[in-house]
């Protein structure tokens, strides 16, 4: 475990799944990921970090290395610690970056820059040709499909001045012009619809009297049209853009408010401490809300899919209960997971099922009175369906509430004490969407008016996994 001091060194934290996808990241890391062309969530796009993550996954050890990456403007350096996560927690790894530093890259000298640009042009030219000292074409090499016309002209009348084979644009002056003036100008080729840029690079030790030239023609766009955008854009505003940016300031607000509330910085009147507690609570609420909104966006994305794997529902429920154990204990609530005769295995996405259970059990804890019991039981509900229910002894849900409870931002006035962690009103909406994405459903059983204590019972049903 890291101690507090180590935390202070920490500049950014991120989580990756077992396929190397960055699932969440603090602000600087999220920004670097985007600067390197990646998305969040998405495959980690920082090549240097990616190599280290692969190393870590391969050997399954906690590693710590220096790294340096380029974000397009600055060199980013730091010390990255990568901790593989237990298979039981879904695999993947945690990424902790210390000592995050951004430094301006030393500008290369103009000569170096020019020679680098020449190299890039040499490597990317689709048509290259060799000219003699008089700029007569000696041979031409073309990789482009629309260069057939040019090659045809060259074949029929070889050995002429290169500018005879193409149409120079914006050059009114009569040929021949000094080659330096033509380097970089535009032209059109017979049979090609693209615009081409001309590079003339002298060959030989003296550029004032070159022995010949490399003539490069660079097209303004690739010949193959990129595939059209697959779908109409769906909003990625909150999930990929805002969440990572906002999470850090919110975390800071909460941490500072907690500091004030606990009077760590010195004595304070009780009311102020209480206000600080409210600020912290509101901050936590905001943070949870952001996570939920990002989840909804993910759900709305056209390419959202869930995995299909065997999920032991009782096992998943026990894990969720374990995660929430501390919260339950603080209210003296007992969570009873009834063991079925044989395993209840659903076909679904383990992480999503776990997410639903955490939501259901979390709700149950929030709405249950102190000292009550939450009962979880699983079983088959048909030939090819399995289900798991979470029942609490809280105030329950009336019939008309049951209609609305899965709506966005619906909280049904079931407000809880101010000292509790507030909900966003999105949890059940997300859970039901997730359940349906896995070809299942989430339902609530309204309380019988007569029964006491009434309690609410939420049931997740999923397709059964064929044995």
């Amino acid at each position: 475990m890291m101690n507090e001091r180590d935390e202070a060194l920490l500049a950014a934290r991120g989580h990756l799944d077992r396929d190397g996808r960055l699932l969440s990241a603090d602000e600087p890391l999220a920004r670097l990921q985007e600067d390197c062309g990646g998305t969040l969530p998405g495959v980690i796009a920082v090549p240097e970090l990616r190599a280290l993550v692969e190393d870590c996954m391969r050997i399954g050890l906690r590693i710590g290395r220096e790294f340096s990456a380029f974000d397009g403007t600055f060199t980013v350096t730091g010390y990255v610690r990568i901790h593989p996560l237990d298979e039981a927690m879904g695999g993947g790894c945690e990424l902790l970056v210390e000592n995050w530093q951004r430094q301006a890259v030393e500008a290369p000298s103009s000569r170096d820059l020019a020679s680098r640009l020449d190299d890039i042009d040499r490597a990317s030219a689709e048509i290259s040709a060799r000219l003699d000292a008089e700029q007569r074409l000696q041979y031409v090499l073309a990789n482009a499909e629309d260069a057939g016309g040019l090659q045809e002209t060259v074949r029929s009348s070889p050995g002429r001045h290169w500018s005879d084979y193409l149409t120079l644009k914006g050059v009114a002056h009569h040929q021949p012009l000094h080659w330096r003036l033509l380097d970089g100008s535009q032209c059109e080729l017979p049979g090609s619809e693209r615009n081409w840029r001309i590079r003339l690079l002298p060959i030989g030790p003296r550029s004032t009297a070159p022995l010949g030239f490399d003539l490069l023609l660079l097209a303004d766009r690739p010949l193959v049209e990129p595939d059209a955008e697959p779908q109409a854009t769906h909003s990625q505003l909150v999930g990929s853009a805002l969440t990572p940016v906002l999470r850090r300031p919110i975390a800071r607000i909460v941490a500072k408010a907690e500091t004030i509330r606990a009077r760590l910085a010195g004595p304070l009147r009780a009311e102020y401490s209480e206000y600080a507690g409210n600020i912290a609570l509101a901050g936590q609420h905001l943070g949870a809300m952001l996570d939920d909104l990002a989840d909804i966006e993910t759900l709305d994305a056209p390419d959202f899919t869930t995995a299909s794997e065997p999920v032991d529902l009782v096992d998943a429920a026990k894990r969720a209960a374990g995660i929430l154990g501390v919260r339950a204990q603080s209210k003296n609530i007992e969570i009873v997971v009834q063991n079925p005769a044989k395993p209840v295995v659903a076909d679904g996405d383990f992480r999503r099922v776990l997410q639903i259970f955490i939501n259901l059990i979390g709700n149950a804890i929030a709405y249950s009175p102190d000292g009550s019991t939450i009962t979880i039981c699983a079983g088959r509900s048909g030939d090819d369906r399995v289900e798991l229910s979470v029942a609490d002894q809280g105030p329950g849900v009336s019939e008309d509430q049951a209609e609305r409870i899965f709506d966005k931002f619906e909280r049904l006035g079931r407000d809880i004490g101010a000292d509790q962690e507030p909900g966003s009103g999105l949890g059940l909406y997300i859970s039901r969407r997730l359940a349906r994405a896995m070809h299942g459903d989430l339902a609530v059983t309204p309380a019988e008016p007569a029964s006491a204590p009434p309690g609410a019972k939420f049931t997740l049903s999923l397709p059964a996994r064929a044995a």
Binding site: L9, L61, G64, N99
Partner: protein, 323 residues
């Protein structure tokens, strides 16, 4: 003549078919003997064209053997097989130690450590450079930044433990870089296939390992917190050899092991290039160079190279051959 013939007859009479076990044992012995013979030419070649002083000395060999044995001992002891007798334990340690020595990356790492220890001791005797608490480290421990002070304290602890262990010619498993640690565990796992109880020990070792808490990692992290002031660590007398070689490696973008090896007298060209690649000017370069008390000539031509050129030469030399 007749006596010999009689002997031969008796021999033929006594020859019974050896058991498969015995045959297997003999094959293994022979393979070991072959390995020993194969190792002779490079060793002989080294001693015949020996650099002065030699890279491989009795001390270095003893240190490496000690380090490998100590790694093997920790592995064996990590299993809960308290029942095995002392003799058996010694045998197993020896076997595992040999198995580890067959890995070139483990060997190279231990070799660099041996040279680091040797150089550290030499610098302490000749130049009074403290192996643990250097002036720079003291300064960092007193730093106003809590993070730096904390890391410096951790680095100090790790370094003092390292020096003490090396005096006893032992090496803690936690000090290994991740790939070496992985290799060591892999070899051990392969060797103890018939001992299922090893899996538990392996899991525990893997679970408690964290590369970032090793000595070398702590030194690197400490340098990182110094940001622009990290150049101060390129002064050997101020920084001490441990921090100095970490800085040398960091500034020239080379593995630390190579930076350590460059301190050996047979590696003066490398040292000069390292210092230059780290950006030292002529005066500073010469000053650092002389601290290593080499009798050889100071390669002045290094100063004519730009730091990037020196770094390029180093990078080219350390690139794997034929890759």
């Amino acid at each position: 003549m007749s006596k010999q013939a009689a002997h031969g007859r008796a021999d033929r009479r006594a020859r019974a078919k050896p058991t498969p076990d015995a045959e297997k044992a003999m094959r293994e012995d022979l393979a070991r003997a072959d390995r020993a013979l194969r190792g002779v030419p490079p060793v002989l070649a080294h001693f015949l064209v020996v650099p002065n002083p030699p890279l491989i000395t009795d001390e270095v060999v003893a240190r490496m053997r000690g380090n490998l044995d100590s790694l093997a001992r920790q592995l064996i002891d990590s299993t809960s097989r308290a029942v095995i007798g002392n003799d058996q334990r010694t045998g197993e340690i020896e076997g595992l130690s040999q198995c580890l020595a067959a890995s070139s990356i483990v060997l190279s790492f231990c070799f660099a450590l041996a040279i680091e220890s040797e150089t550290t001791e030499r610098l302490e005797k000749r130049e009074r450079i403290d192996p643990v608490l250097s002036p720079l480290l003291q300064e960092l421990i007193a730093s106003s930044s809590e993070e730096t002070a904390e890391l410096a304290m951790k680095a100090l602890t790790a370094q003092s433990r390292f020096v003490q262990q090396q005096r006893r010619m032992s090496l803690s498993l936690d000090e290994l870089p991740a790939d070496i640690f992985h290799e060591v565990l892999r070899r051990w796992e392969a060797q103890s296939e018939d001992h299922p109880e090893v899996a538990g020990g392996l899991k525990q070792l893997k679970g408690s390992y964290d590369e970032a808490n090793g000595r070398v990692a702590l030194l690197a992290r400490l340098l990182g917190t110094m940001r622009r002031d990290a150049k101060a660590a390129l002064d050997l007398e101020q920084a001490g050899f441990a921090l100095f070689s970490t800085a040398l490696a960091q500034f020239s973008n080379q593995p630390r092991e190579l930076a350590v090896l460059s301190s050996h007298e047979s590696q003066t060209a490398r040292l000069a290039l390292f210092l230059r690649a780290a950006g030292l000017d002529e005066g500073a370069l010469q000053q650092q160079f002389l601290l290593f008390a080499h009798s050889s000539r100071f390669p002045t031509e290094t100063c004519n190279l730009a730091p990037e050129e020196a770094a390029a030469i180093l990078a080219e030399a350390s690139r794997p051959q034929g890759g």
